[in-house]
Symmetry: C2
Subunit: 460 residues, 2 copies
């Protein structure tokens, strides 16, 4: 798709240069909002309002939603008040909120001033909810029905009011503002008779899935995926219906949360900006805290080595295996921690599973440890001792290294599964306990094991 | 939700013990398919067919789809041929294919024998497509319309044929089996007149988004997310419409691909099994290849240390900083690689961006490197030299360590961004180039830098 956009971009640039506006309009109206936004992102700031004005108003609003926030800001500054009002009239409330959240205060004021009073009220309500909650990503525009309506009435109501709703395919049956059921357009259309009442075709009871305004958006997306829902109703603490989250927002949430998890797991403070739009300074700010913290905590590994300095001087060959032992420990630990972190975020693991997880990891670690120890012993004897003729490396040294490897892997795998589960239990994001943190912990432990075993076997 | 399932499970167990089948049925029919499947997963194998027979046939089929494949297999073995046929009659083709793909050959034969000939033909067709392609996740059950139909005719056709379709909300307008447009039920219901023809309300032209049968499922999911599509049409190489992929399958694909990416990034061969269902032997098989490969490749770091053994013996204090330098290099490299890998998988980066990515990473690395070098210098002088009174650590040693740190971070960040982008260009999964691989590469490079700088400054 990107290549397609590039070609269109070049065409549009030459058409712009020759002021062929009707042709440009003809091209743009055949395109999708997301592709139009991609083309716009390559244009000069002063061309933006010009191009934007060529779009029919509905397509204009849809493309506006798909643009990056810095482009949106440029465009809003270039539009007149009445043009801005037209855009706001076409937006769904949840999209308007997303835009408002990203803009500086003076732009927000202009946006709110140009929204109709109902829209302004709803934007302000949604802005009250905590970031990343269901309330903050929902829309308040849904189709509501009454349980005593007939199917025919319901279809008429959808036809009359549906144009302003983000989805009409799931309708919500309310009684005194309480949600009593949901009904899909499919079941309305396929109902045997138009005279049936809504309560005879709706889903209700314990099969009714809802989330609270404060439910975390990641959990909302997972529930929609689990129950294959097009939209999920959001209720307040008194069980009154306040809005819906639609599948397209859930998909965006899933993408954002994955990016965030991966960033945290790599020791990066999460950022909303895409990579290409982040300046080196942005990247620096998000990367330096963890680097600094982990560097300082590596003081412990340094201390351990210093305190065994004499042993190392007596048996210089031992130093050469430190990186291999530390890396293998780190890799073993990350394998467990990443597996467990992912299982936690998919709700497959809970804290009460901890004993069975530890037991499973120990058995896996013993298998991995024995296999690697044997491989390592063979490698040391064949490569280091025979091929490279390093006489410092005795069978005993090889035994120390291989035994350390076995113990390190067991420790690493246990630490790797325990830390994320405890973090979750204590209310932290388990992803924080991924590779960098585990590596630092396992490094120190593996060095202690190494020198203890060396002391014991080599009598240093 | 899980806690809810546990309680229901206990209730059901006591009801089962007292043979209160009508009560069990009454409870089950109020529940969602996904929750029923969760309850079933906690039951004894011999109870499964018993409980399953209590469900109304549509709910039975929906719950069957949500079950884990080992449970499905147990259940199929416990059902009679006619019961199995009833389940197959209720399944959508794509769900049937998912089940068939997981079953052993003799179960597959029974399933195919109990499917009607049309279903059997469609299952076999979908099974031909490569794994993880759009063809392998699509369903062939969609609503097709003709461009010359009226809106009223179209609604009638949906009412007549919709019950067997996975989604009715997007209908596909075909002319000689070629896709000429799509039309949503929303636009049908909101059309000003029932007498309008379909070609006057349909989306067509370059705004029509399609994927090919061979398009990778991850790309399919991303396109649906980008264009906010409920369903995406799949066409063959002659542009003939062959099926659709629906949003619920796209959400599952997104979850599976995220898990796979994270596993690969942690040096684990991806697996389809959930963590709790994987045996230690399964975990071992998926973890040992990378551990072994990375361990053997750490031979290089060992060699480098061995060749500088004399220098290390002359200046023992240098050894203590090896872990810190290696870890900081590894962490810096993972930060870049994970950021770049994620940007590649979200289609934000392409190979032609490589020079600008390298330039951005170098500037970031210089900032991180200088900040950390200063912090490290302060730490060494204050903690190691003054607080711990280690006289081996001179200002010159501290300078060697800090200079190495700066150079290592720059190398690590460049390696971290270049390797994934080159992997992508060469047709490999960029995720393979994440932390473990980068760590091993950066370890060797950072040791070389360390000893070169030490040689230069300390004249070892």
């Amino acid at each position: 798709m990107t290549e397609h956009s590039v070609t269109v971009e070049n065409t549009l640039q030459s058409l712009l240069a020759s002021k062929k506006y009707p042709t440009i309009r003809d091209i743009l109206v055949t395109m999708n909002p997301a592709d139009i936004a991609a083309v716009f992102s390559g244009c000069e700031p002063e061309q933006l309002p010009l191009l934007f004005r060529l779009l029919p108003k509905e397509l204009a609003a849809e493309s506006f939603v798909e643009m990056e926030s810095d482009q949106q800001e440029l465009l809003i500054r270039g539009l007149s008040d009445s043009e801005l009002r037209q855009v706001m009239d076409e937006l769904y409330v949840d999209d308007a909120v997303d835009i408002v959240e990203e803009m500086p205060a003076n732009v927000v004021q202009r946006i709110l001033a140009q929204s109709d009073p109902q829209m302004r009220k709803e934007i302000n309500e949604i802005l009250q909810y905590p970031e990343n909650s269901a309330g903050s990503v929902m829309t308040t525009e849904y189709v509501s029905l009454r349980p005593d309506m007939t199917v025919g009435d319901a279809i008429l109501r959808i036809r009359r009011t549906g144009v302003d709703k983000e989805t009409i395919y799931t309708c919500y049956v309310l009684e005194n503002r309480l949600l009593v059921g949901t009904v899909s357009v499919k079941s309305l259309l396929l109902a045997p008779s138009d005279m049936q009442t809504i309560d005879s075709v709706m889903e209700s009871g314990s099969g009714l899935i809802t989330v609270n305004t404060h439910t975390d958006q990641e959990e909302v997306a997972q529930m929609m995926s689990k129950y294959n829902l097009l939209a999920i109703p959001v209720v307040d603490s008194d069980n009154r219906m306040v809005g819906i989250v639609t599948f397209d927002d859930a998909m965006d949430v899933m993408e954002d949360e994955t990016t965030e998890d991966m960033e945290i797991m790599a020791g990066i403070t999460p950022s909303d900006k895409t990579y290409l739009r982040s300046s080196p300074w942005d990247l620096f700010k998000h990367r330096i805290p963890w680097l600094a913290l982990l560097m300082v905590s590596a003081t412990f590994t340094g201390l351990i080595i210093t305190s065994f300095e004499e042993a190392l001087a007596a048996q210089v060959a031992l130093t050469a295996f430190i990186p291999m032992l530390m890396d293998t420990g780190g890799n073993s630990g990350s394998q467990s921690s990443v597996t467990v972190i992912r299982a936690i975020s998919l709700n497959e693991l809970e804290f009460r599973d901890l004993p069975s997880v530890i037991w499973k990891e120990i058995r896996t670690a013993v298998m991995c440890g024995i296999a690697l120890a044997i491989l390592c012993f063979a490698k040391i004897m064949l490569v280091d001792r025979m091929l490279l003729a390093n006489d410092d490396i005795t069978v005993l040294v090889a035994a120390v290294v291989c035994l350390t490897m076995l113990v390190t892997i067991i420790i690493a795998k246990v630490v790797g599964c325990v830390l994320p589960m405890c973090a979750k239990k204590l209310g932290f994001d388990p992803a924080v306990m991924a590779s960098p943190f585990i590596t630092t912990t396992v490094d120190a432990l593996s060095l202690l094991v190494y020198f203890s075993i060396a002391n014991g076997l080599l009598h240093l």
